[in-house]
């Protein structure tokens, strides 16, 4: 009886959230672009940017965001997702923040980031991550390096017709298969072409400039898109992340789960490097004789040295607590702070973890264990 009730409730919740997506679709989707016209649009867009960052097939099945402005080869209708998210361009593994003209004389020269980028084919999960990151970097002290790049960027998202990997859980984390905001244009693939959403002024501008390439979407295409997106979430259930945060905040996660993680994590730094919402960094100076640059580089909580102080005292001495910090920041504290978690379910951290740590399984174990 109880089981049945839970099942019905779940089914109901699923239907409701589906209905919401569909309503949104019907309200917004008005435009359509054919595959041929999209090629034309891409050609035009490339003229107006310095870098056209798009998913590209590299070796064998590897899909990686690359600059295809000159080389071409960007993927439109593609399955899967790029190994790196757009974060690799907005907060790269290493970047110069200013030049050191003279180390001895403490003379510095500012660098301004002026590259105009178009991010093309961004998946909804990554799109959501970008909106979260932007909020963070613009909060209180504005991070000029991030903000300048954002201001000069255009984001063209492509909704997902199918899951990018077996391990992804974007739908469950409420960040797929369509992007809700952050994009300038969003494309939803259907058989004959793409439904088009305009999400910003930048997007409208592009539309205006290329309006010959767009047509009004047919009801058939809208129906088709609806069906595709419906299919996407069919077997899935949204994660109750508020409940998850509550359980974690009350410290009800079994100690053995953290202990196990401590014995799995080999501090490879893959998760913090690929996670589209990881924002931590450090600086390092690179000098050749008296000249050089200060570089910002990706850093994060899995290192003991990340929190250890110069004198050697360590506020977080145990390795398991470094990983716990990663999980708590994303799933618990950010949910309490912002009302949503900072995990978008892209599964990058799962797919590269040499310790087979699986954030999705963690979420399942925690929510199940508490019931």
């Amino acid at each position: 009886m109880v089981l049945d009730y839970v099942f019905i409730a779940e089914l109901f919740a699923r239907t409701v959230s589906h209905a919401l997506i569909i309503v949104k679709l019907l309200q917004m989707k008005k435009l359509f672009i054919t595959k041929e016209s999209l090629e034309e649009l891409v050609k035009n867009l490339k003229k107006d940017c310095d870098e056209f960052i798009a998913p590209k097939k590299e070796h064998l099945d590897d899909i990686v965001f690359s600059d295809t402005k000159h080389s071409g080869g960007e993927l439109s209708a593609y399955e899967g997702n790029s190994v790196v998210s757009p974060r690799a361009f907005l907060l790269p593994q290493t970047e110069e923040v200013f030049k050191i003209i003279s180390a001895k004389g403490a003379k510095f020269k500012a660098i301004e980031e002026k590259t105009r980028r178009i991010f093309y084919g961004v998946r909804p999960c990554d799109m959501k991550a970008i909106t979260l990151m932007r909020d963070f970097f613009a909060d209180k002290f504005v991070d000029a390096f991030y903000e300048q790049k954002m201001e000069r960027s255009i984001f063209i998202a492509i909704a997902c017709a199918s899951r990018c990997s077996k391990k992804s859980f974007c739908y469950e984390m409420d960040s797929g298969p369509v992007a809700k905001d952050g994009f300038d244009i969003e494309l939803t693939p259907v058989k004959m072409g793409y439904l088009v959403d305009i999400g910003s002024k930048k997007g409208s501008k592009i539309l205006k400039k290329n309006n010959k390439l767009f047509t009004k979407a047919s009801s058939g295409a809208i129906k088709e898109a609806k069906a595709i997106l419906e299919r996407f979430g069919e077997a899935a259930k949204r994660i109750d992340y508020k409940k998850l945060a509550r359980i974690m905040a009350q410290d009800k996660v079994k100690q053995s789960i953290w202990d196990d993680m401590g014995l799995r994590c080999v501090a490879c730094s893959g998760c913090i490097t690929l996670c589209p919402t990881c924002s931590c960094f450090s600086f390092m100076d690179r000098l050749e004789n008296d000249r050089g640059a200060r570089l910002r580089y990706c850093d994060g909580c899995i290192y003991a040295g990340f929190t250890r102080m110069a004198g050697g005292s360590a506020p977080i001495p145990n390795h398991k607590d470094h990983i716990r910090r990663f999980f708590e920041h994303k799933l618990n504290i950010d949910t309490l702070r912002y009302g949503r978690p900072s995990c978008v379910g892209c599964a990058r951290c799962i797919e590269i973890c040499p310790g087979n740590i699986d954030i999705r399984k963690f979420i399942e174990a925690v929510t199940k264990g508490a019931e």
């Binding site: 600086f283 850093d299 909580c301 929190t307 110069a310 920041h329």
Partner: protein, 274 residues
Amino acid sequence: MKNEYFPKIVVIENIVNEAPDVKTFTLRLKHESGGKLKYKPGQFMMLSLPGYGEAPFTFASRPASNGRFQITVKKLGSLTAALHDLREKDAVGIRGPYGNSFPLDKIENKDLLFVAGGIGMAPLRSLIQQVFKNRKNYGNVEIVYGSRSPRELVYKDEIISWQDNPDTDIHLTVDTPDETWGGACGVVCALFPKVKLDPKTSVVILCGPPVMIKSAIKDILKLGFRDSNIYASLERHMKCGAGKCGHCYIKGKYVCLDGPNFSYLEMKKLEINS
């Protein structure tokens, strides 16, 4: 757009050997960097030494009208070692000020207990100087200060001169005395029984190594001081000072933004004790 990570240039005007491996640097902003630096006691700066990177240092002197400010630096790693090798007139970069100040509005007209260990006297000195500058705005002041040895007590002469202020008591202690030492021996907590302030209304401000803060707060609470009246200046690994780099993050708070000065009430919420 202002690049938060681009340092201003300061010149070292004076260097004083405080203690073995501890030096106090007097700094002044170069004119092209905007003249004066406005800060409050308890705030800190990111000091930039090209080739070695950056490290946080709290202002060790009260905000002065002549634009000069001090930091006291203990040689611990490569950056601090390189800093110790600098001379007067050398230039370095700074960013800031960052962080909150000591709870200046909450300490007015209150009796104050300062507890410091070792180099932890540096941030307190900035506030203590301010308090003595405006002596009548505050109640009784007691200072408990300890270090490993007499040689390692910083600002010795100045601390002795503080005693000349009215309604002020200074208690000094060292872990290991030498032949010159006639004062108390042992940890700072051992001196707490000598404190005569009313625990119910006095404000306590601490700074020192994590172990000291931890045990001192415990003992202070036992004496009846209120956890909302106990403040500690905390130290964490920091790279940006602006709440971005993530090193000093604790449960949604950033020591560089929301601290470095926390009341014990806040510390309990963050589940930290030092």
